[in-house]
């Protein structure tokens, strides 16, 4: 089970790295989102997957039953998902703004920051 899980994570992480290496900003965004999903699974796996009783304290009891799942990784994953969500939202807005003002989402055309104060003459100034 763990091995299967590990392979699945490896595949997701591999795909996401492939996407991150792309030149297209939206693909990079998708890659980062997928990578954070893969890492959430790693956190989940770190908490050991053994039981299938949800980590909820039953009415009338004051502690978790011994065979309940580990609630901490769930809390961590939840936090990571929320943070990843807000970062994805910001990045999407950034990609949109970039497209609107630079007219491209290809990183080869996005070089405005490098032109500022580059020691070398800018590409368009060259003969």
């Amino acid at each position: 089970m763990h091995l299967l899980f590990a392979f699945a994570i490896a595949i997701v992480a591999g795909c996401s790295l492939y996407l991150i290496l792309s030149r297209h900003i939206v693909r990079i965004l998708l890659g980062v989102t997928m990578l954070s999903a893969a890492i959430n699974l790693v956190i989940f796996l770190s908490g050991r997957i053994v039981t299938n009783v949800p980590a909820v304290i039953r009415a009338g009891e004051s502690s978790l039953s011994a065979d309940a799942a580990n609630p901490l990784p769930q809390a961590l994953v939840l936090t990571a998902i929320v943070i990843g969500f807000s970062l994805t939202a910001f990045f999407a807005a950034l990609a949109l703004q970039t497209y609107r003002s630079l007219g491209s989402v290809d990183t080869r055309h996005i070089d405005a920051a490098e032109r500022l104060g580059s020691p070398f003459p800018a590409a368009k100034d060259r003969p």
């Binding site: 991150i20 900003i25 990079i28 980062v32 990578l35 954070s36 890492i39 790693v42 956190i43 796996l45 770190s46 908490g47 050991r48 004051s62 502690s63 901490l72 990784p73 961590l76 936090t79 990571a80 943070i83 807000s86 970062l87 910001f90 990045f91 950034l94 990609a95 703004q97 970039t98 003002s101 630079l102 990183t107 996005i110 070089d111 405005a112 920051a113 490098e114 032109r115 500022l116 104060g117 020691p119």
Partner: protein
């Protein structure tokens, strides 16, 4: 009241900026009210961070818990000498930079939410300095990251968007590496509290997961701090933001990565036992050397300074690589000195831009005749950065390099001296081109530099001089902080309750 304030001293430096950010966001359209709230909040933040420093100085390590949960289970904030010093310097820097900002922040930036973002970022920085829980550290890193991206992209011109994209991708990736490291660490030990990790890890048998976790954390913090092969995003993005933002980024953000490295690789892992000393040493050498070479070919003041951030980070990393008490003390001194000086140099770049109308050194000139005060103010941080006595940079470099020699790493120490020489070259380049050279474009009168700008630059410069002429208290403080880093028993006993089995709350 005072007792209450002191009891919760580690809470205020984080709570105040969050409160200010919330209030400033409520007053979205009222720029004047936002400015007032921010000014008040920064003043209180400065007071709170100095209070924390005083409290830690008197009472030793302070720990507070959140949500009524005790240490290994709940989130704790821990202020030891290092954290308190970092928070205090953050408060001082925020006050100085926002004073500068009075004359620098434009209306459009205010409308785009400059103040809430800045306060949110300060909260993130202070949270990262104070937290005692490694997952919580990740959360504060993300708070810092998202507000920093907001601040970078605020003007929405082409260069800034480009810079934000670079910054966002690389830093998102770094926090993801960090998170993976945390996940593996949790898998191996079953705890996230840093003090508890320090207690549990020596009893855990070494495994590939722990080694991987250490390396991932090093890479994650390394991207954030701008270590050698991972720094390329930094000089490609920092120079585009407005000077107020650049200065605070240059002073604080990379140092948060350095701080996290120091915390994790002294408290949880140690540089020696995890076998990464050679890696860290090579990284330090590369960071120093490539940063300074990068700076040597640049002509834009801000880019020169950005590359110098990288090179100076190398010195701090050098302290971590040596990891003796003297080296760590030197590195802590270095961090404090560097935050003040580097932010001040960025502010000066802004003032140079104001006076000569350009950031490009080839086009500016003649400022020494037109604006001798600015020239004098420039000399203090510039010479301090290059490490000339009797300024603060001399003591910082002296402490680090001396410790390196004593540890027998002569090639590293020699390299550090060589890099210091090249730093002097870059600083004299700015001096020659912007101040000394005859002006390239004839203009009758240099434009005046607004008073708030000069005030901020002068106060940070004065701080540099004070540290330079009276280094002894700060050196002693750094040595205490370094001793506390190397012997975490006080940290552990402050955070963890004496009896490890705690009553369970329903």
């Amino acid at each position: 009241m005072t007792a209450f304030l002191t009891l919760h001293a580690p809470l205020w430096p984080v709570l105040l900026p969050i409160f200010g950010a919330g209030l400033a966001t409520c007053l979205w359209k009222q720029r004047r009210a936002q400015r007032l709230v921010t000014g008040l909040c920064i003043t209180l933040l400065l007071a709170a961070s100095l209070l924390l420093l005083a409290a830690v100085y008197q009472q030793g390590i302070l720990a507070i818990r959140f949500g009524g949960w005790n240490a290994p289970f709940g989130v704790v904030f821990v202020a030891d000498a290092l954290s308190a010093a970092m928070v205090a310097i953050t408060g001082i820097l925020a006050a100085a930079v926002m004073t500068f900002g009075l004359a620098d922040i434009r209306r459009r930036e205010e409308q785009a939410g400059f103040y809430p973002l800045m306060l949110g970022m300060l909260a993130g920085v202070n949270g990262a300095f104070l937290t005692g829980d490694i997952f919580n550290l990740y959360v504060w890193f993300e708070v810092m990251l998202i507000t920093a991206m907001g601040l970078l992209s605020i003007g929405r011109n082409r260069a800034r968007l480009d810079a934000t994209v670079r910054y966002a991708v690389l830093n998102l990736f770094s926090t993801l590496l960090f998170l993976t490291g945390v996940a593996l660490l949790y898998g191996a030990t079953g705890t996230l509290n840093m003090a508890d990790l320090a207690r549990v890890l020596p009893e855990t048998e070494p495994s590939i997961n722990l080694t991987l976790s250490a390396l991932l954390l090093l890479c994650g913090f390394g991207i954030k701090a701008g270590y050698f092969p991972l720094f390329f995003w930094l000089p490609a993005s920092y120079h585009t933001a407005s000077i107020t933002v650049s200065a605070i980024f240059a002073g604080l953000l990379t140092k948060v990565g350095v701080y996290a490295c120091f915390r994790v690789f002294t408290l949880i892992f140690s540089v020696e036992d995890s076998g990464i000393r050679e890696i860290v040493a090579v990284l330090a050498a590369g960071t120093m050397l490539f940063g300074v070479f990068g700076a040597a070919v640049q002509w834009d003041v801000r880019r020169i300074l950005s590359f110098h951030i990288v090179s100076q980070i190398g010195y701090m990393l050098l302290g971590l690589a040596i990891s003796t008490q003297a080296a760590l003390a030197g590195a802590i001194f270095y961090i404090i000195h560097h935050i003040i000086v580097k932010a001040n140099l960025f502010l000066l770049a802004g003032a140079i831009h104001r006076a000569s109308g350009t950031f490009d050194l080839r086009k500016s000139g003649g400022l020494m005749y037109r604006n001798p005060l600015l020239a004098a103010l420039f000399l203090v941080p510039a010479l301090s950065l290059a490490g000339l006595p009797p300024l603060s940079g001399f003591w910082a470099k002296f402490l680090v390099i001396d410790a390196t020699f004593r540890a027998g790493e002569h090639w590293l120490a020699g390299l550090a001296l060589f890099v210091g020489l090249l730093t002097l070259y870059s600083m004299s380049k700015i001096w020659m081109e912007a101040f000394w050279k005859k002006p390239v474009l004839p203009r009758a009168e240099a434009r005046r530099v607004p008073r708030p700008m000069l005030l901020a630059i002068a106060s940070l410069g004065a701080l540099t001089l004070v540290i330079g002429f009276m280094p002894q208290p700060l050196i002693l403080f750094s040595q205490t902080a370094a001793a506390a880093l190397l012997d975490p028993s006080a940290y552990l006993s402050a955070v963890l309750p004496a009896n490890p089995i705690l009553e369970a709350r329903p």
